[in-house]
């Protein structure tokens, strides 16, 4: 595709791309940056695109750019919050379901495994299915990705976030029991 053709391509899809980016990040300046990154990425790969419908293709690139931005922003905030919590946290039991802990370890180390299973089953999507498959049916990440039709990396991040959710729930249960 020549630069002139690509210029027309940008004109045609700039509203769609900017709207997608803005609806996810809700920041005008950041949406502009992500839109630019989207089109630069599209320019690099447009000659290898096999399909004939550019709309979903460019929409997916924009969504991915927004996802990467939100993911890194979320990770930064979680890391910051974790370090603050760790500095005042004294309850050893909360560590029983640490986010980095393997499910087997987590499962064995908790006496009330029935409670955890109940918590897992009451999770909402998109965490419920991945957690059931991982922690209860003990499938590996690749199997879960194949079964659910999700990228392996997405399954991994969903599991990581689900562990955080469960960790928080256990903490609440522990606090309730000790009162």
């Amino acid at each position: 595709m020549t630069q002139r053709e690509f210029s027309q391509f940008v004109t045609k899809y700039e509203k769609l791309v900017f709207t997608i980016c803005y609806q996810f990040v809700k920041d005008y300046h950041e949406a502009q940056n992500l839109s630019q990154e989207t089109f630069l990425s599209a320019y690099r790969h447009i000659d290898t695109y096999q399909g004939d419908n550019y709309k979903p293709w460019i929409a997916r690139i924009a969504t991915n750019k927004a996802k990467d931005y939100l993911n890194s922003a979320y990770s930064r905030r979680v890391m910051l919050a974790s370090s603050e919590e760790d500095s005042v946290e004294t309850l050893a039991s909360v560590k029983q379901i640490d986010s980095s802990q393997q499910p087997d370890e987590m499962y064995i180390s908790k006496e009330g495994s029935g409670t955890i299973e109940q918590m897992i089953r009451s999770l909402k999507e998109p965490y419920r299915e991945v957690c059931i498959l991982k922690f209860i049916e003990e499938k590996d990440t690749q199997e879960i990705a194949d079964l659910l039709g999700r990228p392996k990396k997405t399954v991994e991040t969903q599991l990581y976030r689900a562990r955080s959710i469960l960790q928080k729930q256990i903490k609440e249960v522990y606090h309730d029991e000790t009162k």
Partner: protein, 186 residues
């Protein structure tokens, strides 16, 4: 813009809106909240993650955004006056094309610089008498012919020129390791 703390982000959330159906796809409510910019940061991340791999939901999302007659997702009624697509900043198109042009310029400048360096070295060796060696001169002539041919097609096949330059330098390097031709003594 709404700011949400991390602690509120991490939730099991029975009181949270249903963004996903039981089979893992986005609900109409999820699309509505996304378009109305009502999702918090974690919900936005979850929805974007899903759209990054789900063709069905991405198609639905782009349909809603690009529809000439958008439908109210609550009532199912057409809202012809509603325009979902936002007007981007006027500079977006220009900045994208400017960046592309700059990158293209840098790419061709680097290639042209490689050719210029090769030509300069050739000239220096030639004028310095190093090329008086007949065998060496023959090899360099061949290389220069190859270099000239390659430079004709630089815009289409820039990789060819790199090979010629590599060969050229390789030959020069080899020539320094070979014994110089000495004239027979009278």
């Amino acid at each position: 813009m709404k700011q949400n703390s991390t602690s509120s982000d991490i939730r099991a959330g029975s009181s949270q809106p249903e963004l996903f159906t039981a089979d893992g796809h986005l609900t109409d409510l999820a699309f509505k909240l996304l378009i109305d910019e009502q999702l918090d940061s974690l919900q936005s991340l979850e929805v974007s993650e899903h759209l990054s791999f789900c063709d069905r939901c991405l198609e639905r999302y782009t349909e809603i955004l690009c529809s000439d007659a958008p439908v109210d997702l609550d009532t199912g009624q057409e809202l012809p006056e509603v325009v979902h697509l936002m007007e981007p900043p006027a500079s977006l198109h220009d900045s994208v094309m400017q960046t592309i042009q700059n990158k293209t310029r840098v790419f061709y400048f680097k290639k042209a610089a490689s050719v210029a360096v090769a030509a300069s070295l050739t000239f220096v060796f030639w004028s310095g008498g190093i090329l008086s060696d007949k065998n060496f001169s023959k090899r360099v002539n061949n290389l220069l012919d190859g270099l000239y041919t390659s430079s004709q097609s630089i815009l289409e096949q820039t990789s060819e020129i790199s090979d010629s330059i590599n060969d050229f330098f390789h030959s020069i390097q080899n020539s320094f390791h070979q014994p110089r031709h000495t004239p027979p003594s009278k």
